[in-house]
């Protein structure tokens, strides 16, 4: 016959074991986007390295943005509670003049990150230039493809991001497509970047 004391101890141990199954609290509570001025992450592939760095705050369209330099190429991001937005601008050059057809923010990543969540956003506008309609389109689509446990960093989310920029003139369509897979670690930020130039893994970082 099991004594009451033993039974209580057993129940307590079962409860403790049940309670430590996975990292759901870490994923629910952590900041995966440590976008603060001065933070940086160095990533390396087999052949190259890239420095991702948060530069001084800037203001675009009367919105405070974080310029994020990806190896010298700067994206202007805005972190809202529900999404990470990216500044998008489409211009058309004609007879030495520059016409801005679209200038706005497009959703890059929907927040918070949850496995399987997908989103899409678009910007479309047209302008009548020199007797012809010029149309610009931005499409952005993303999917959280999952998370993996990385020993040093915890549960890392993988996010597929696909962006398409189009400028349509009466006789030509210019298309620029970018596909990237970005991985984010809790309390750290970007952990892996996969694009046309290869797969870059985090080798060093400094975040506040």
């Amino acid at each position: 016959m099991i004594s009451k004391e033993l039974l209580r101890t057993g129940i307590f141990i079962i409860l403790l074991c049940l309670g430590c199954g996975d990292n759901i609290i870490q994923r629910a509570s952590s900041d995966y986007f440590k976008y603060r001025e001065g933070n940086w992450w160095q990533l390396a592939s087999d052949q190259d390295t890239i420095l991702v760095e948060i530069e001084s705050l800037d203001t675009l369209l009367q919105i405070e943005c974080l310029p994020v330099s990806y190896g010298g190429y700067t994206k202007y991001l805005v972190k809202n509670p529900d999404a990470l937005l990216e500044y998008a601008k489409a211009v058309y050059h004609f007879s030495g003049d520059e016409y801005t057809i679209i200038e706005s923010f497009i959703e890059r990543i929907e927040l918070p990150l949850v496995d399987g969540n997908s989103w899409q956003d678009s910007l479309v506008d047209s302008m009548y230039i020199a007797g012809a309609w010029i149309t610009a389109k931005f499409y952005s689509a993303g999917l959280v493809t999952g998370f993996e446990n990385v020993a040093e960093y915890g549960d890392v989310y993988n996010v597929d991001i696909n962006t398409i920029e189009m400028v349509i003139t009466p006789d030509t369509i210019y298309v620029d497509t970018i596909d990237v897979i970005e991985s984010y670690a809790p309390g750290i930020g970007i952990f892996r970047l996969e694009n046309d130039n290869g797969i870059f893994d985090l080798i060093d970082y400094e975040v506040e």
Binding site: G19, C20, N23, I24, I25, R27, E110, D115, G116
Partner: protein, 133 residues
């Protein structure tokens, strides 16, 4: 319930049911509860479903309240869905007001939850009603 340590999480509501048994030293309770939280993105929801063992001293006006147990956590965001288990504990104080067989007790507490990797929690107030059978 204001959140502590949860990124972007603001507040939520909690509901629990308890069965209480009086012993010489303490009142032992078994309970089950659910709590629900939202962030500014209304498409995101976070649920906690918990079972617990609790200890109180209900014949005192001010009683410490201790609870712990397993917790099932569910996160949803549009097409995304995650779930997992955690361990939670609650430390607080309740004020007992007796009226015949009824007992009314506001409870002020901190609820901590952990998965072994991270810890976060909530500061909460519950309004309790009990009946002695």
């Amino acid at each position: 319930m204001p959140a502590v340590g949860f990124n972007d999480l603001n507040s939520g509501i909690a509901f629990s049911l308890y069965v209480n048994r009086h012993f010489n030293l303490v009142d032992l309770s078994l309970g089950a509860g659910v709590s629900y939280y939202t962030v500014e993105n209304s498409a995101y929801t976070l649920y906690f479903y918990d079972m617990d063992i609790g200890f109180t001293k209900n014949n005192w006006l001010f009683s410490p309240a201790i609870e712990f147990g397993p917790e099932y956590t569910q996160r949803k965001h549009d097409t995304g869905d995650e779930s997992g288990s955690a361990f939670y504990y609650s430390l607080g104080i309740l004020v007992n007001f007796h009226l015949d067989k009824m007992r009314f007790y506001p409870k002020f507490y901190y609820k901590g939850t952990t998965d072994g990797q991270a810890h976060a929690g909530f500061i909460g107030v519950k309004l309790g009603v009990g009946y002695d059978f």
